[in-house]
């Protein structure tokens, strides 16, 4: 069993109207010093299978092409393995930096 978490955020240069609206609301209801708010999406994918290199590659492909749009968004992907055997250590925790970099042009 593994839990795959994919966080998708709009690239910094892309307008985020939802984040802007939340920023306004936070300021309005009394939170001081709100410099910026960005809103993103999180996908939690539970798998009954082991996450080997092939599955990890497939997950990255889907995160880059379906779950995010590389023209306007970046993604970060992490895999937590629970129950049964531990997969390769690279697949646990947050293997984040490389995956995010992979979609930045």
């Amino acid at each position: 069993m593994a839990r795959v978490v994919v966080d998708v955020m709009l690239k910094p240069e892309i307008l985020d109207p939802q984040g802007r609206a939340v920023k306004g609301a936070l300021t309005r209801i009394g939170l001081a010093g709100v410099a910026d708010v960005r809103q993103g999406k999180q996908f939690i994918i539970d798998l009954d299978t082991e996450v080997d290199d092939a599955v990890l590659a497939q997950l990255h492909e889907l995160a880059a092409d379906l779950l995010s749009n590389p023209v306007i968004e970046d993604y970060e992907l992490s895999v937590d393995v629970f129950g049964g055997e531990q997969a390769h250590p690279d697949h646990t925790g947050t293997a984040v930096g490389a995956s995010s970099d992979a979609v930045v042009k």
Partner: protein, 229 residues
């Protein structure tokens, strides 16, 4: 034998009936296509109409771009089949990588619904050969996520290669980079635009009849054998 032009219906499509009506008024034969089929029914061209396919879930056009019919549309488009994406259809074409860039939320944050003036920037496409270069047309637009974005290198490339087909004039309604309202692929058989030519086909309801010229263009292209039938 009149040209057979397929109009795809996804769950949440709104303008398939209008697109089919435009096709018929222009003298071609509309053919209904269903998103769940792997079958283009031997049509000569395809229109991806406007709407909110799959409720705009995930991103506008993202889930539709992975639908069974789009597998066929992408393969056929890469072989020269004329494909026109209108509004949500344009978003689907971008998500399917048939056109570059992406459509995101309007800069003014409002849904914009009005008649919009456009300049025809490329007539060497299957869908705009009936126009004159630089001609201006007035057709309806209605979108909340019509803000065309791409990185500067991509924008320079598509400008340099003449892939901008429609440009907003008289003010940019949604913040689209370089006032881009519509694009073509390199070959010119695939065109996408945010405004709605299918709503400009009758004097009673539209601001012009420019939509008929869009359909007339593809009929001409097919008759001339500019594109594989």
């Amino acid at each position: 034998m009149s040209a057979r032009i397929g109009v795809v219906t996804f769950p949440g499509t709104l303008d398939d009936r209008d697109a089919s009506r435009a096709v018929a008024l222009a003298g071609a034969q509309p053919v209904e296509l269903w998103h769940g089929d792997h079958d283009l029914h031997s049509v000569d061209a395809v229109i991806l109409p406007g709407g909110f396919s799959y409720g705009d879930y995930l991103r506008c056009g993202a889930i539709s771009s992975q639908s069974p019919i789009m597998t066929e549309v992408v393969a056929a488009a890469n072989n020269g089949l004329p494909v026109l994406g209108i509004c949500n259809g344009f978003q689907v074409l971008c998500e399917a990588h048939l056109l570059p860039g992406a459509l995101t939320v309007n800069e003014g944050l409002h849904f914009v619904c009005k008649d919009q003036r456009l300049r025809i920037e490329s007539t060497s496409t299957a869908w705009t050969n009936a126009f004159d270069q630089g001609q201006e047309i007035l057709i309806p637009m209605k979108n909340g996520e019509g803000n065309f974005v791409a990185d500067e290198a991509t924008l320079d490339r598509i400008e340099g290669e003449g892939q901008v087909v429609f440009r907003y004039v008289g003010g940019n309604p949604n913040g689209s980079r370089r006032d881009i309202a519509g694009l073509r692929n390199a070959a010119g058989n695939v065109v996408g635009l945010m405004p709605h030519p299918e709503h400009a086909v009758e004097e009673l309801t539209g601001p012009s009849l420019a939509g008929l010229d869009i359909i007339a263009s593809v009929i001409t292209a097919l008759a001339d054998g500019q594109v594989p039938a």
